[in-house]
């Protein structure tokens, strides 16, 4: 079964060729690897490939099939694209749910100030909301010229990472 995996900007095709327990032959794009792979339920992997020892940790993200991968050196965003995701992707490609109309919070925090109200006209770059987390305030700006059509939070409320805050049209 071949599936696609998106690692940062790269999309690679992966297929398992043979397996005998921890010993696997796997094809990544055009390259064939023989690896000795052990892992646990918490997404910690130990892979030996041509004698090299790799430690990899996969942490599931809020969205299904999305992971953050940690090596000893760096971290990566990962997404598994299987038949189901491909189907969803194709289906939604027509509607263009433009994410630039939506202000989301990149981290958990507390809403300090919303200087706009529904119906306000805003210019690209205008501050529409200020979020505070860990003693640091961040101002989020409108990505477009437009009108505020929805404000989903109120001042003083706490927000989660990736929560939709404000919609602009």
């Amino acid at each position: 079964m071949s599936i696609e995996i998106k690692l940062d900007k790269r999309i690679a095709s992966v297929e398992i060729l043979k397996q005998f327990e921890n010993l696997l032959e796997i094809k990544v794009d055009d390259k064939i690897y023989q690896v000795d792979l052990m892992h646990n339920d918490e997404g910690i992997f130990s892979i030996l490939e041509s004698g090299r020892s790799y430690n990899i940790e996969l942490v599931p993200q809020a969205k299904p099939k999305h992971y953050t991968a940690y090596t000893l050196y760096d971290s990566y965003d990962l997404e598994v694209i299987d038949a189901e995701s491909r189907y969803r992707r194709n289906r939604s490609s027509g509607t263009q749910l433009a994410s630039e109309n939506i202000i989301t919070s990149p981290m958990p925090g507390k809403v300090v100030k919303i200087p706009v109200k529904v119906g306000d006209e805003v210019k690209k770059g205008d501050t529409v909301i200020t979020i505070s987390a860990m003693k640091m305030e961040s101002e989020y700006k409108s990505p477009i010229d437009g009108t505020i059509i929805k404000i989903q939070v109120i001042e003083g409320s706490t927000v989660d990472a990736n929560q939709v805050l404000i919609e602009i049209e």
Partner: protein
């Protein structure tokens, strides 16, 4: 001399635990206080007793003197250790402790007040003969006085609102032609921000080194310094890395600055542990910047090169013991570096990154100390500081210490939230840091190197892709909860290595 048997630690996070560790070693019981957000915080779990003091926001919990004192009285605590931040430099709190017969571990309220007011601190230091940044010693209330003063001091200068803070009413003047307009805008912003247009003027030291001296004073008029800490690696005016000895320091300069640091402490009859911060320019001119009347985040590097437990000294001093350490017995042994681990996205303007900790692997072994407070499964609250841990290494010399720090950062894994670990590792690799040739401008200057993506080669990427693939396949099956390592798709007999890939 009053023996302290129980201490309330009026703080949270790593410093609360660090203080409780010393209490435990001294046989002193500990009381923790916590806000709504901190019920499962490690300091609550580490303490002998723990009491709730209010909602998550600091202003309603950790910054409420009366609530904390109430717990101290209820639990018969002999003393309160304020840690750093929160109420540690709040003279009103120190005063209330005294009124309630509880020993505040730190200097007197009067000293906190005196050193907390920038202009009064400058005046005190000038009186004690300690060099301060050249500038006015009192507020300048008219535009003419301001301009005259600037001409006298000479450019560049910094104009600061007397009543201010947080950068409001502050202007850097580097060019003759801008003097009038910038003085006006500073005064006008000061007026609108604080209702007061008076300013004071200081010589601007560009790209200075931030070097501080640790001092200790007891209740019997003895004062010592425990050498310097170099704190110039900063981002957003917050320290990231500290080391001692400072690569900039000469024995002569150390002796001179150390003497001034002791003079500064003596000038206010300082009790407990304090820090004298200096700005040092590239010609090794140094100027008193401010005094911190509390324990510093970076105190462990001083502990490591002197062998002295500073929290223990604070407690002994608070009990009324005279200092048993004398200046001539103190030695700096080897080299210590501290890296602050922040929960933040260092590559994205150091934006804080609270969230849930997934896994932690602690760096261990020779010369490594970790002071942290997060644990696996812990959700870092959004309400407090983003520093989750401090990594301190020691080695015989600076080069070895840098290599050890690299090794420790390499081993240190905290997953689930973004941290500054990789950014710190890149700092260890910069030419400027390795040569010791850096000042407070270091991160800005090395931005391009520090933000470069040092990602792994394709082979390594492919291994990540393979891991994700297997994870995906195994998630299709039932998930187990064990943390034991098992092979991919644990359905067949374990394959022994006597056989080989050829068998595949």
């Amino acid at each position: 001399m009053r023996k302290i048997r129980k201490i309330l630690v009026a703080n949270r996070g790593e410093i609360a635990i660090r203080i409780m560790r010393t209490c435990r070693e001294m046989g002193i019981s500990t009381v923790a206080v916590f806000s709504d957000a901190d019920r499962t915080s490690m300091h609550v779990r580490y303490a002998d007793e723990a009491y709730h003091i209010g909602p998550s926001a600091s202003a309603e919990s950790y910054l409420k003197p009366e609530k904390i004192i109430e717990v101290a009285k209820r639990t018969n605590a002999d003393a309160i250790h304020p840690g750093y931040g929160f109420l540690s430099e709040n003279s009103e709190f120190a005063r209330k402790c005294a009124e309630n017969g509880i020993k505040f571990i730190g200097p007197s309220p009067e000293v906190i007040d005196k050193m907390g007011d920038k202009i009064q601190a400058r005046l005190t230091m000038i009186a004690a003969g300690v060099p301060v940044v050249p500038g006015t010693t009192e507020s300048v209330t008219t535009e003419k006085d301001a301009i005259d003063t600037i001409r006298r001091i000479g450019l560049p200068v910094m104009v600061k609102a007397s009543a201010g803070g947080g950068g409001k009413g502050m202007r850097l003047i580097t060019d003759e032609k801008d003097i009038v307009s910038l003085v006006r805008s500073a005064r006008s912003e000061a007026k609108s921000s604080f209702g007061n247009d008076s300013v004071y003027i200081e010589k601007y030291i560009s790209s200075p080194h931030h070097i501080e001296f640790q001092v200790l004073g007891d209740q019997h008029g003895n004062f010592i310094h425990l050498f310097e800490r170099e704190c110039s690696v900063q981002r957003r005016h917050q320290k990231m890395i500290e080391e001692t000895p400072s690569p900039l320091m000469t024995p002569e300069l150390r002796r001179k600055m150390g003497e001034y640091a002791v003079e500064a402490a003596r000038a206010v009859n300082y009790e407990g542990a304090g820090t004298i911060e200096f700005l040092v320019d590239n010609d090794l001119n140094f100027y008193f910047l401010e005094m911190n009347t509390r324990l510093q985040v970076e105190h462990p590097i001083t502990e490591r090169i002197t062998g002295i437990d500073l929290v223990k000294q604070q407690i002994l001093i608070a009990e009324g013991h005279p200092l048993t350490i004398t200046q001539d017995k103190l030695r700096q042994t080897g080299h210590a570096i501290e890296c602050r681990i922040y929960a933040e996205d260092s590559d994205n303007n150091f934006m804080p990154n609270p969230g849930k900790i997934y896994n932690i692997t602690q760096p261990l072994g020779l010369g490594v100390r970790t002071d942290g407070y997060v644990y696996e499964g812990y959700e870092i609250p959004i309400y407090y500081d983003s520093m989750i841990s401090k990594l301190i290494v020691w080695a015989e010399n600076r080069n070895e210490a840098i290599e050890r720090m690299k090794r420790a950062l390499y081993e240190y894994k905290i997953t689930g939230v973004k941290t500054s670990i990789k950014f710190l590792e890149r700092i260890m690799d910069t030419e400027d840091f390795r040569s010791g040739n850096y000042d407070t401008n270091f991160i800005e200057k090395n931005k391009d190197i520090l933000l470069s993506e040092g990602k792994c080669p394709t082979d390594c990427e492919d291994m990540i892709i393979i891991a994700a693939y297997i994870e995906y396949l195994d998630r299709l099956n039932v998930s187990q909860t064990s943390k034991a390592m098992y092979p991919a798709q644990n359905r067949w007999k374990k394959y022994t290595y006597q056989k080989n890939f050829e068998r595949l």
